[in-house]
Symmetry: C2
Subunit: 196 residues, 2 copies
DNA sequence: CAAAAAACATACCAATTGGTATGTTTTTTT
DNA sequence: AAAAAAACATACCAATTGGTATGTTTTTTG
């Protein structure tokens, strides 16, 4: 990695962290360059606008991280139902990247940006669609190998799992306690077992 | 209603609408007074700060509206399972107050404000707790009248229902289509029926 | 009706915002 | 090593932000 691309990378990573904790709107460029110790000139050399940086964060930070955490564990899953549960549990209780009080990065950005920024919305919906399709395929293969009933609708199940995950992260935020995660996981397990 | 309290009410209602569509941070006081045609003097006569107005919106607009839409339908429910489904369906597809592309007002505010504004977090968590307890009680009474199995855990179910609702509203936002609501509702029905 | 308080109006302000103009330094290419 | 391009640094700027100081008008009260 060249020095220049390291600078760029630093900006994206630090900016992501601030945005994850405070939101996109409330994170100013001045704050980003202060914490990264990169000057304004350098910042605007790498990114034409703040939104260009925001999109780069989605595509270069959030997307790969999500693919690692959400998608890879579900590909070629031998026991899809178990894998979905384990993944969710890992995301809620073990992933060091995600913090209880700050919710889901993709979920946060979706809620904040979607209504008024088309480009963000597009980048995020692509990312989410990928996750959705992974879960759907997971259920489909579970139907094939017999671990899930034939009359289960993969799309519906995917929506149900994903929404409940997004939602419970919001609860984690308000209550600022992992208790609700444990409750949620118990019920998720029951729900998933009922698919068999 | 006196003229003064009407002014106050107008500010709260219009401000709520803007905040619901754009978020709290991005809504400026200048924009609020422009759309309400209330002067800055009048605004700051009724509210000491922007945050005081924000809290008033939660307590005087969001809270009563939520109580009407989320809580009242579930109190003294004869068939709790059915009522929960009907309420959710009404919220997603029929409620004129809630718009597809803007998500759930309480959910939006929670996600935006909770990590950095304690007072907002407190006001919102009270509101959410009330909703949660209503659903829990609903399940409890369903257990009593035999429409729900004895081994069902009301708290877990409440979390599961509420999170999935919050989450699916986020999907409505990204995809900007009611399709996911229909899919979600079908799966919700299956889930609820499995509680019997 | 007069005084006092409540309600509203106008003009301003310091701080912060995203962004630019114009440099200097570092790296790469020839 | 010289020229050119890439990478970074500094100083600035107009617009917007939440908020205030100082009014005037309207309503209520004695």
């Amino acid at each position: 990695m060249t020095k220049a691309s390291a600078t760029r990378r630093t900006i994206l990573e630090k900016a992501f962290e601030i945005i994850y904790t405070k939101g996109y709107q409330t994170t100013s460029i001045d704050e980003i360059i202060a914490t990264t110790k990169v000057t304004k000139g350098a910042f605007y050399y790498h990114f034409k606008t703040k939104d260009e940086m925001g999109l780069a964060i989605i595509n270069e930070i959030v997307k790969p991280t999500m693919q690692e955490a959400f998608i890879k564990p579900l590909q070629d899953a031998k026991n899809p139902i178990k894998e979905i549960y384990d993944m969710t549990k890992a995301l809620l209780l073990e992933n060091p990247f995600l913090k209880l009080e700050y919710g889901c990065p993709a979920g946060n950005l979706t809620q904040e940006m979607t209504p008024w920024n088309i480009e963000f919305g597009k980048a995020l919906s692509e990312l989410i669609l990928e996750w959705q399709q992974t879960i759907e395929n997971c259920i489909k293969s579970a139907k094939k190998n017999g671990t899930v009933r034939k009359n289960v609708n993969p799309q519906q199940v995917a929506y149900f799992i994903m929404s409940s995950y997004w939602g419970i992260r919001n609860f984690g935020k308000v209550y600022n306690s992992a208790d609700c995660y444990h409750s949620y996981l118990k019920e998720l397990k029951i729900y998933l077992n009922n698919l068999a």
